[in-house]
């Protein structure tokens, strides 16, 4: 099957070159035949890469160690599910996945636009991007590369990748990353063709929202994986690879808001193009960071020589895109101007600037170690203190804007209306602040964060309440009014659901970042200690051994007010196959989760005489983060749900 896979990849590469050529002819001459031929080539590309992926999965599942990729990423003890997910464990497989997901998007775009004749310019851009990744897997990082000598056993998959979340996080994230290529293609196609009307921005928004949703889900799945597997008690460490996915998310969020202004008011056209180019650039930059190994990271398990190629590609993207933008800049002049600082347009613009500032600060912090090493020979690491110092103030202002935006209208908000609209959310803000102070909370960031979350939640509530009231005043019952309000204003009210999800997320992040309680104790059998409302009793250590690992499991009974609530078993293991890991011992945390807090136990050391070193953390409200993620995705789905087209009027 490996030869079939290799041939499929080579054929993909040449078919894409042909499709690029055919679409270019179609764009130049208006030839429908060449447009359709190019489109067919793109659909074939998706089929060919499906064949390649299936071949690689087959080789992984059947443990064909004659292939370098299989030998590096699997072993005979690996469960079948992780042999499949090893598809994206290494460099070549990840690049194949990237190419495959992009080909699916491309095929969708072609088939969806077939009735309208398709847009050859869009296909040209998609083919050009695809060609780069296909070149990498065809000639630089071949997933079907054969080993010179036969091996009887593989190196195995890194144990921390053998986790359910790691089975879905990369694919989800890639669907998000890769999906940004499509709105970028629509934007560049508009610049190439000179058709700078409404159509490109409408197409951009739909695909941008889809990929943003997956990027959001992917980021949170990755955070969940880190929380469960990395065993340090947290879920976000401003790791370069985490930042690599966060930056396009920030820029993409700015774009999604800004695009509304262009749709409604035909403003910020140039700005939206710039945002689109930056978002796409950051998605490629993110892939570059992850795949090139240029910045040392706990996630970067692969190092190769694709770095210079990626660098060249990124430079080309920037040069070409901005040159086109400058060429078409006169045609992108806005038809309207800002009427007032107190308007939704202005609030969106401030929001944009803040998101971009956040993206830039994360970008700077991520590449600073590389720059410092390049110029001084010393790698200076940038950690959470920098990112938090910059990110927290920006984040707080963004939450404030999230509350203000819906309360003011397009064009101009009158002072009287502002006063009326801000009373209720303002009262909620003050009430939350007062309540927290009464309960003894004094941490200023936490106070402001929770109070602002209350403000935003009140805003969303007010929007729903008033909307339902308006519809009810026309004779609808409240329940019907609610459903009709959402279904007939999906973009607005779906957006508010997303905002509510963000509120939950921020509450969870604030609480779990600022109010963690932890203890590190050495325990003998029968010893106990307290953490928050829990009493923990160490019952003993068990030795565990199976095909994959040898290790220890500590048994701890958990009590709350004298009542037994759980028994937890944190582990420390040594995996039998060396795999790709850089450490030879792995901890498996034990976790007890409620909406109030998480009890998080790490078995740090097993000493002589049956004593153990346990690190215990009480992380407040972590589950609010994951709940917030669900709500964000739900809101995005509501926003994207297609509204029925109004019946086309027949001519008289």
């Amino acid at each position: 099957m490996s030869d079939l896979g290799s041939i499929a990849i080579l054929l993909s590469f040449f078919i894409t070159i042909y499709s690029l050529f055919a679409c270019a002819v179609a764009a130049r001459t208006g030839s429908r035949a060449f447009a359709q031929s190019g489109g067919n080539g793109i659909v074939s590309l998706a089929f060919l890469l499906l064949v390649a992926v299936c071949c690689l999965v087959y080789e992984l599942v059947t443990l064909d160690f004659s292939l370098r990729y299989v030998a590096l990423n699997t072993s005979t003890d690996l469960p079948v599910i992780y042999r499949v997910t090893a598809l994206w464990a290494g460099q070549a497989g990840s690049l194949l996945l990237w190419s495959f997901i992009l080909s699916l998007y491309m095929a969708f775009v072609v088939l969806r636009n077939r009735k309208k004749g398709g847009d050859p310019y869009v296909n040209i851009v998609l083919c050009a991007v695809s060609l780069f990744f296909l070149f990498l897997i065809a000639y630089v990082e071949d997933p079907f590369e054969k080993l010179g000598v036969a091996v009887g056993e593989g190196r195995g998959l890194n144990p921390i990748l053998q986790n359910g979340y790691m089975a879905i996080h990369p694919v989800t994230l890639y669907v998000g990353y890769v999906g940004i290529t499509v709105p970028f293609a629509f934007g560049i196609a508009a610049l190439l063709s000179g058709r700078l009307g409404d159509e490109w921005i409408r197409n951009c928004r739909k695909y941008a929202l889809f990929s943003w949703m997956f990027l959001s889900a992917g980021l949170l799945l990755g955070a969940r994986w880190a929380y469960l597997e990395l065993g340090w008690g947290g879920y976000w460490a401003w790791d370069p690879v985490e930042n690599a996915a966060f930056m396009p998310w920030l820029a993409g969020t700015a774009f999604l808001h800004s695009v509304m202004i262009q749709e409604r008011k035909a403003m910020l056209k140039k700005w939206n193009m710039i945002l689109l180019i930056i978002t796409f650039f950051l998605s490629i930059f993110g892939t570059f960071i992850t795949r090139s190994g240029i910045v040392s990271s706990v996630h970067s398990f692969a190092r190769s020589d694709i770095g210079p190629l990626f660098l060249g590609f990124m430079v080309l993207i920037l040069l070409f895109s901005f040159a086109l933008l400058i060429y078409r800049s006169k045609e992108l002049e806005s038809e309207e101007r800002f009427d007032s600082v107190l308007s939704r347009e202005s609030a969106f613009l401030f929001n944009n600037l803040l998101f971009l500032a956040a993206a830039f600060s994360v970008f700077l912090g991520t590449i600073f170690p590389v720059l410092s090493e390049a110029f001084t020979g010393k790698k200076i690491l940038v950690g959470p203190p920098y990112f938090n110092a910059v990110g927290v103030p920006i984040g707080l202002v963004l939450i404030l804007l999230m509350g203000i935006g819906p309360l003011i209208s397009w064009k101009k908000a009158s002072t009287a209306n502002l006063k009326r609209n801000f009373v209720f959310p303002g009262v909620v803000f003050a009430a939350v602040l007062l309540a927290l102070l009464v309960f003894g909370l004094r941490e200023p960031v936490a106070l402001l964060s929770f109070a602002l979350c209350g403000f935003v939640a009140a805003t969303v509530f007010l929007e729903y309440f008033r909307g339902i009231r308006v519809r009810s005043s026309r004779g609808e019952n409240p329940v019907s009014a609610f459903f009709n309000l959402v279904s007939r204003n999906r973009r607005r009210y779906g957006g508010y659901i997303v905002h509510l999800g963000v509120v939950l997320l921020v509450i969870g992040i604030t609480a779990s970042s600022l109010f963690v309680t932890q203890k590190e104790v050495v325990l003998g059998k029968g010893d106990s200690f307290s953490l928050g409302r829990y009493d923990l009793v160490f019952r003993g250590v068990n030795y565990i051994s199976n095909d994959a690992k040898d290790g220890f499991s500590a048994e701890l009974s958990i009590e709350n007010n004298g009542r037994s609530v759980a028994t937890m078993y944190p582990e420390k293991n040594i995996y039998k196959y060396e795999g790709n890991r850089e450490i030879n011992q792995e901890t498996e945390v034990a976790l007890r989760s409620t909406f109030r807090d998480d009890l998080y136990l790490i078995l740090s050391e097993v000493g002589g005489g049956g004593k153990v070193n346990i690190r215990a953390l009480l992380n407040p409200m972590v589950n609010w983060i994951w709940a917030g993620g669900f709500v964000i995705v739900l809101g995005a789905i509501v926003t994207m749900w297609p509204e029925g087209r109004r019946k086309k009027e027949s001519s008289a």
């Binding site: 074939s44 159509e199 309360l407 397009w410 008033r466 204003n489 086309k648």
Partner: protein, 115 residues
Amino acid sequence: MSEYVISLLLVALVSVFTVYPLFLGRRKPGAADSPEVNQLEQLFERRDLYYSSIKDIELDRDMGKLSEQDYAELMSRYKEKAASVTKLISELQSTEKNEKTEEKMETSPFETPVS
């Protein structure tokens, strides 16, 4: 051996599927192919967007976010835009209908007048 056979079939299948449109000859453009249909689709989408904006403006006014003056100004602007697009749609559809009628008359077996 079978892998190579499958590979050959793959190459053949993909090649034929990709290049066959070039050999179809000069096709009569179907209704879905005409530039007028594409333009109509775009006009419908733009009209829907204006109607959606009008809906939003009405909702904002009913929810007390817009003054009556701003409401009147915004409504007038968007209604004008929607009306202009609706007029364009009508003209295009009318042109399309006339072209179809002419085409029918050219090809109708009953075209020849009875002398």
